[in-house]
Symmetry: none
């Protein structure tokens, strides 16, 4: 009778189920940041902490480390598909957005062709699916005369090549290298910008 627990008295703020979605988003955002400055092997606890949630929540949303990484990449891919779907978009613009993501974080790159060494993060399965979606998005806009239009794999080889070139401490560094890479391939790309929504 004393002490009627006034909403939020001793409870971790359970805002109902819309909080779930919010948390998921926060986790992905956090993961993106953590990946950017600590690499893909960063402790999961760091991601949860940065997202401001308990570790349990992370596990609720993502069964394992690969799922987190994939979710991050998923967003990137969706953005690329989105530009590709824009009315006036051409290959030049799409490549610009793709390149922006490549310069954003080393993680994106690793993800994009993480079939390599066995000890990897274990993304392969999802990764190749995502990789194919990127390819589809790009290929849809490839005009016949384009340098990468020809043989089957050239397109994704080129993407991988640019990824390989993208190194350096700052985003500026990486952007410069990316552009140099495309130039060496004789490919024109649009401004390296994110998709403003």
């Amino acid at each position: 009778m004393t002490h009627q627990p006034t909403q939020d008295e001793r409870r971790p703020a359970n805002d109902g189920r819309k909080a779930a979605a919010r948390n998921r988003a926060a986790l992905i955002a956090a993961a993106r940041e953590i990946y950017a400055d600590s690499g893909l092997n960063a402790p999961l606890s760091a991601i949860a902490r940065r997202a401001g949630v308990g570790q349990g929540v992370l596990y609720r949303h993502f069964p394992d480390r690969a799922a987190v990484a994939t979710a991050v990449l998923e967003e990137n891919v969706r953005q690329i598909e989105q530009v590709a779907a824009e009315p006036g978009a051409g290959i030049v613009r799409v490549l610009g957005v793709l390149t922006w993501h490549q310069t954003q974080s080393a993680a994106f790159i690793s993800l994009l062709h993480a079939e390599g060494a066995g000890g990897g993060t274990g993304v392969p399965a999802y990764a190749s699916a995502l990789s194919e979606r990127v390819e589809r998005a790009l290929r849809a806009h490839l005009p016949a005369g384009h340098p990468l239009a020809g043989e089957r794999d050239d397109l994704m080889v080129a993407v991988a090549m640019v990824s390989g070139a993208v190194t350096g401490p700052t985003r500026e560094h990486r952007e410069r290298r990316a552009l140099a890479a495309w130039r060496l391939l004789g490919v024109e790309v649009g401004p390296v910008l994110p998709l403003e929504d």
Copy 2:
């Protein structure tokens, strides 16, 4: 508080000091193999085990994880310098050997431009020195008309690009991709072969 190896059992023989060099070599070889199939973050203990030595030996020869990686790379670089020094060697041949190393292991690639995310293996310092040695070896053979002869960084950007393209489960896979990459760059490379000594 102390260690006192409860050791009256068996002590696997101390082959004296000329074993030291042999062990070092064994460690590097082991590291190369381990890296190839478990990536650069493989436990050091695995390397020691594969080399058939105790962990202490590894630490005696290499102060830290980066030193091991560097030693592996060092050998590769030396081989490249060696071909470059051969009497009749031309850029085509040197690139062939370089490419062979690129297809050999994902590790070589990571090492070659490991300046990336902070959480990395921490090779940067050595790595850039080695990278420069590779560059020097290549540049010494670049004829004026070569597609990469022009602007300052194009050469190493191209190398990085090919590294990026080199993915896939088997060496054959990776070799095919490497060749495709060089072709896209308009660069001719020799047969992708190790330096037979």
Copy 3:
């Protein structure tokens, strides 16, 4: 590369979050015991084991070895402050409690003036803060005529001296030596007893 506790067996129950405080206390108690009979360099794992918790818990509560030691000492100091705060307490009584702690464990002593050799446990920073608290507690009760009342440092030098004298296998041994030490200093101390609460 990862951990994956091969754990389908048994997981000793997670008592929820109010166990945390209990665990912390258990760790401090365990540390006190371990320190008493194995010295300050005892393995942390021994402390965790004696406290009946996993090693991780120890690290959760105390970032490093020094933090554990400090926590133990902290309690002692608090007790001394507590007697000092008692209504009728005089210097004789306070010194009695202090002396009790000195005879309790070699660790308390080491901690109290652990500025020594570089290889030490690394408590210095905290330690001097705690040392000052002890000094304040004592000085508050020093009557003008007391042998240690005069010059600035005499008080803590005397405490250190008694600490130095406190050696011997059993508590009785140590108590006898402590009392001899105070006698040589011409200082009267109360019964050497813990603070009964």
Copy 4:
């Protein structure tokens, strides 16, 4: 027939058996230094290294860690005995030399009453023998009226007390504390100096 091994060709300089004595001395000196700045738990290998000999030599001369420590202390004790044996030496002078050793290194102190915590370095047996020699040397010079002349243990308790007081980063610090300690005991000591030989 070719290649007559000219003395010292391929041999670590085996100067005969007088080298043995030289090595032993070097080890003790090295140990003293190492102890002084890394504490008694410093790795034995560090001592061997500083002495400029292989680790095997250390083991040849000293069966275990305690033996090294004891040998160091032994020298100190010998010096004290030596002053005590000087024709005109009085207690004041002997205490001066004793105090010098106390201020020299924390190690000396630890050694002097290392009966404490079980986890210690294991010197106890030797230590108490040495401690008795120190006591004998001092007591031989104690005049009847001296403050420490009376009851049996007061003398060594006092020595331990001063040891306890001797803390601080520099030798100057420690000397000041040592003198303050003796003053509190009402004991006069001579100049705090080593035995010039």
